[in-house]
């Protein structure tokens, strides 16, 4: 019997939202745009509005070859890594995990190391492919361990991830040391946008596309976050959605590591902050996670470029420093909430 035919339409309950979320999201997008413009004018070479207006070819060249690619890659990587973090948290059903914590990023860099050692002449695209396969294997291993774990404690899940990531990182470091590639390894593990120029960042458009796939499948990711039985009850194939998430998270991680290096903490902080304000309904949260992630990395990248001007501090270090502070705040705030 259908419910709809049995009862009259009830009154629509009042919604308490002073500003529509669409307006706020537009404001967030505008903020990213402003930051992007700022980002294009920060740097050692003189790229200023008057110079551009005067038709200074050098300024235009720097803008076109370096500043615009850098800004685009910051936005794409910032948004995608944050969204990958959100998807990973739903897959693990735990708020305190992210790809750089559970072995995904570590596996990706092990993959790049393997290609670099075995096929030094491999193209960036081939490196990305191998890194993606390694990232998927590492993430799958983490998920299998989770599934076998009898006690899925909130704290044990991230600990297991950190240990797994640690083991993989140790293997990677060992081989990097043996093949004298420690410095190269470091460039994958610490995100840095200073090397981004035209022709060396275009792979990142792929992560932009993956972020959009994440948005399209948003409801499915929310549902797997509610658990396997919940998903099955709604007639969906749990394993298929998990596989999709695995592919998205691994590809995003691998591409970002290959092109600019890992950006730790980002996938942890951004979804958690967004969740505090907007909840976890992925359809609603994903645009915010993407906008906030892009803005956050833009700010960190601008700070990294100005704080020791004319030298640069890699964005990975700035994000880690700022991120760990925010993370601490989140942890302490959460405890306070649970205390009373």
């Amino acid at each position: 019997m259908s419910l709809a035919t049995d009862k009259a339409v009830p009154k629509v309950s009042s919604v308490r939202r002073p500003i529509s979320s669409g307006t706020m999201l537009a404001l967030g997008g505008a903020a990213v745009l402003v930051l992007a413009i700022v980002s294009m004018f920060v740097g050692v070479s003189d790229v200023s509005l008057p110079a551009l207006m005067a038709g200074d070819l050098h300024a235009w060249h720097v803008l076109w070859v370096s500043r615009i690619p850098r800004t685009i890659s910051v936005i794409l990587a910032g948004a995608a890594v944050s969204v990958a973090g959100l998807i990973m948290q739903l897959m693990a059903r735990n708020k305190f995990v992210e790809p750089s914590m559970v072995g995904t990023v570590e596996s990706a860099s092990l993959g790049i190391l393997a290609v670099t050692v075995l096929f030094p002449a491999a193209s960036l695209f081939a490196k990305m492919g191998v890194a993606s396969v390694f990232a998927m294997a590492g993430t799958a291993l983490f998920l299998v361990i989770l599934r076998r774990m009898p006690l899925r404690n909130t704290l044990v899940v991230p600990l297991v991830g950190i240990m797994l990531g640690g083991v993989i990182a140790a293997v990677t470091t060992f081989f990097a040391y043996r093949f004298d590639l420690l410095q190269t390894l470091n460039s994958w593990m610490v995100g840095d946008f200073s090397g981004v120029i035209q022709g060396r960042y275009e792979l990142l458009y792929l992560v932009g596309a993956l972020t959009i796939v994440g948005f399209i499948c948003a409801d499915r990711f929310t549902v797997i976050g509610l658990g396997e039985e919940f998903t099955t009850n709604l007639g969906m194939n749990y394993n298929r959605i998990m596989t999709l998430g695995l592919v998205i998270v691994s590809l995003i991680s691998a591409v970002v590591v290959v092109s600019v290096g890992a950006i730790p903490f980002l996938g942890l902080i951004v979804p958690n902050l967004v969740s505090m304000f907007f909840g976890d309904n992925v359809r609603r949260a994903i645009p915010w996670v993407a906008v906030f992630g892009a803005a956050f990395v833009l700010v960190c990248d601008i700070i990294g470029r100005t704080i020791r001007y004319p030298f640069e501090i890699p964005v990975g270090i700035i994000v880690s420093a700022v991120g760990s502070l925010i993370f601490l705040y989140l942890l302490l705030g959460r405890r306070k909430k649970n205390d009373h």
Binding site: L3, A4, R93, K95, L234, G235
Partner: protein, 252 residues
């Protein structure tokens, strides 16, 4: 009608459900009772295709649960397990909205909105609709989940210990609501329940399990006898008739 024929499940050498055959009639409330470890929840999980069975078969409303596509089953039966702690921050309305997924595949229509509002209304959740589920009390949260499976608009509702963690007031309220759903909306409701007196007062039909086997089945009047319950629970339970309900007294 739910037809259960020769269903078994083992974990290692341990037979958790042992060759259970039963028919649950369409309409009304059927309660599955029995001591801890009797296999009640396992049986419910197999009926609802959450758990594959080792042997036997189940048909819910004529649909074989092992061979029917999951999406089709999800429009006929809804299952709610006892573990309903959310690791995802959702508003009550969003949670209830997910109940519409089997029908709309994620693209909500105006009809879905009506279903959602009616389910919220039915469970008195209107004023709480825009709160986050993790901010609610245990009783409110349980109601939100019931509203979700109600919005799923299925003929069959399978609930695994819906009174878990509810106090007396909320337990009574929940059972009255379920009774109302069976009577007014024509739902077929199957419960796994620990409290034999709730089972006695609110069900039309009781299945009693022990050690994985179905050992008794009937109406509360047929089943609520000291001799039957002694077999099920291995304790003496005195039965008193109060206001037309058969109540088991087992506290002393």
């Amino acid at each position: 009608m739910i037809e259960i024929s020769g269903v078994s499940k083992s974990y290692g050498s341990q037979k958790v459900v042992d060759n259970v055959t039963a028919t649950i009639p369409a309409g009304g409330i059927t309660s599955i009772i029995g001591p801890n470890g009797a296999g009640k929840s396992t049986l419910l999980s197999m009926i609802s295709r959450l758990l594959p069975m080792d042997a036997g078969g189940v048909a819910v409303g004529g649909l074989d649960v092992t061979s029917t596509p999951s999406r089709e089953l999800s429009q006929t039966m809804a299952i709610l397990r006892q573990e309903n702690q959310l690791s995802v921050r959702l508003s009550v309305r969003d949670l209830v909205g997910f109940g519409r997924f089997p029908h709309n595949g994620g693209r909500a229509t105006a009809a879905d909105k009506i279903h959602i509002d009616q389910a919220l209304d039915y469970l008195d959740l209107g004023p709480l609709a825009d709160r986050f589920v993790d901010e609610l009390s245990g009783g409110q949260r349980q109601r939100a989940f019931i509203a979700m499976v109600l919005a799923q608009d299925t003929k069959y509702l399978l609930l695994d210990e819906p009174l878990n963690n509810l106090d007396m007031k909320h337990s009574v309220h929940m059972m009255r609501t379920l009774r109302k759903m069976a009577d007014e909306l024509g739902k077929t409701i199957v419960l796994v329940i620990h409290d034999i007196n709730f089972a006695s007062c609110y069900s039309d039909n009781i299945l009693a399990m022990k050690d994985g086997r179905l050992i008794a089945q009937g109406t509360p009047a047929e089943l609520m006898h000291s001799s039957v319950l002694a077999d099920v629970y291995d304790i003496d339970i005195r039965i008193e008739e109060i206001d037309g309900n058969r109540i088991g007294v087992y506290f002393a």
